[in-house]
Amino acid sequence: MSEPATPAHPLYATHDTPLARINGRPVSRAAWLADVHELAARLPEGRAALNLCEDRYRFSVAFAAILLRGQMNLLPPARGRTVLAEIARGYSDPIAVVDSREGDFPLPTIAVTARGEAAVAAGDTPPPEIPLEQTAILGFSSGSTGTPTAHPRRWGDLVAATGQALQRLEMDRAPGHSLVATVPPQHMYGLESTVLLALLGPNTLIAERPFYPADVHAALAREPRPVLISTPFHLGTCLRCGQPAPASPARVLSATAPLEASTARELERHFDAPVTEIYGCTEAGAIATRRTVAEHHRTPYPGVQVNADDGTSGLALVQGPQHAEPVPLPDCIEVHPDGAFHMTGRLADMLNIAGKRASLVELNRHLQTIPGVEDGVFIPPAAGSDAAGIERLAALVVAPELDEATIQGRLAGRLDPAFLPRPLVRVEALPRSATGKLPRQALLDLLARHGECA
């Protein structure tokens, strides 16, 4: 190459192992690249595209095609029209790359139809190089200000973080593992633990996303050397389904919410495999792990440091080669002298329902800005969700002109389904104190008076 050298890293690692498997059919890295080029040629000029593909193979093709065109993957946390429109507005009319145009999208779409079936000559064409400084993705988190906050990550950041994960999880050696995941690829954990471990390591992503416990068990029995990538909620359903696991994965990864040690022990027995928790957040990506049955603390990835709060924000900060500057962590964290850390709690405003995080302030803003809603508040469940089942949010709403179904419908366009309130109760007024605050007990009393509270 004669151009001036921009620091870059190949789009994928060259291995003989398939990049993906679709219904059991392997797709080579060369065949995958042909699909990527085909899609890249169809993408319009632009800064960014929403990657909404649900099929993990198609997501990976779209992810790479968007990178090849020098654009950013916008990864929305939810698929409601309002959320998509709000995100799209910020990026000069992007298109959305989707599996199928059948759907309700508030912006133009391009469908990925390729299934890794292009005829490719066996050859040793080197993979395309992507500049390290190119912004590869924008993840979105719920900020306390209300609107989703964008978190850019450069290709170099993803390469560095994935290298750490491959090493820590011992997934960097051929013949690699089959990545069986219940998490969507748009989620930071889903992206890092499936698509990137396959692209940048010898691993093979599984296109299908198992959902029911029977699906998870079947995928583990079908795929060679599987690693199960899931959440405490989903793993808990495998325990509760009453069926034995038909095959053992090489390991089980869990993230999005803390895993109880007792649940981790049951999971290790159920799957006959080590269960590793990954700790991370949309802002910083994955940064640490622990083997939950054996460790109370979490150990940062190689080259990553977690430091106690700087005395101003009260938040612990993480810094690794993948972070341009120290990133505040959205949890209460105590750092040990050896660099490991443990979580002492969640920040008060953050909710975690079925492994999905949201800010209570933002949920309330969504509720209160529905036309016809005069006042409203979400009430978090008393105990956190755990493997034994899901606690739902409740909501009290003052909306004399609207019925419950209308309010629920409006919320459904704005929120992840996990946050939809159950019950949603219409009341005449909220029990606001003189300072406008809503004491939790007063809310619970009001909810109970309406006979809707368990």
Partner: protein
């Protein structure tokens, strides 16, 4: 709304119990109305919970690669018919 059969009444009770739908009476579930999105407004978390409850009560393991999956959860009637055809307990 059509009338529920005896078995549909039983499955309706299972739905209400397993999903903690305190404000829905089992007999009020229209056997032909969609269970998800519209209708009862259930979502994917509910689908998982309901699949677990159906597995425990009737030994029917629900799979999403089942070609009939969309149809199974289409309504109380479809779910009840699927359980009756596949139950082991």
């Amino acid at each position: 709304m059509g009338a529920q059969t005896a078995f549909e009444q039983e499955v309706a009770q299972l739905i209400v119990d397993s999903l903690n739908l305190e404000d829905t009476a089992p007999e009020d579930i229209d056997p032909e109305a969609p269970l998800f999105r519209e209708g009862l407004g259930l979502d994917s978390i509910d689908a998982l919970e309901l699949a677990l409850a159906v597995g425990r009560a009737y030994g029917v393991q629900i799979r999403s690669d089942d070609e009939d999956n969309l149809r199974i959860f289409a309504s109380l009637r479809a779910l009840s018919e699927h359980i009756e055809a596949n139950r082991t307990s």
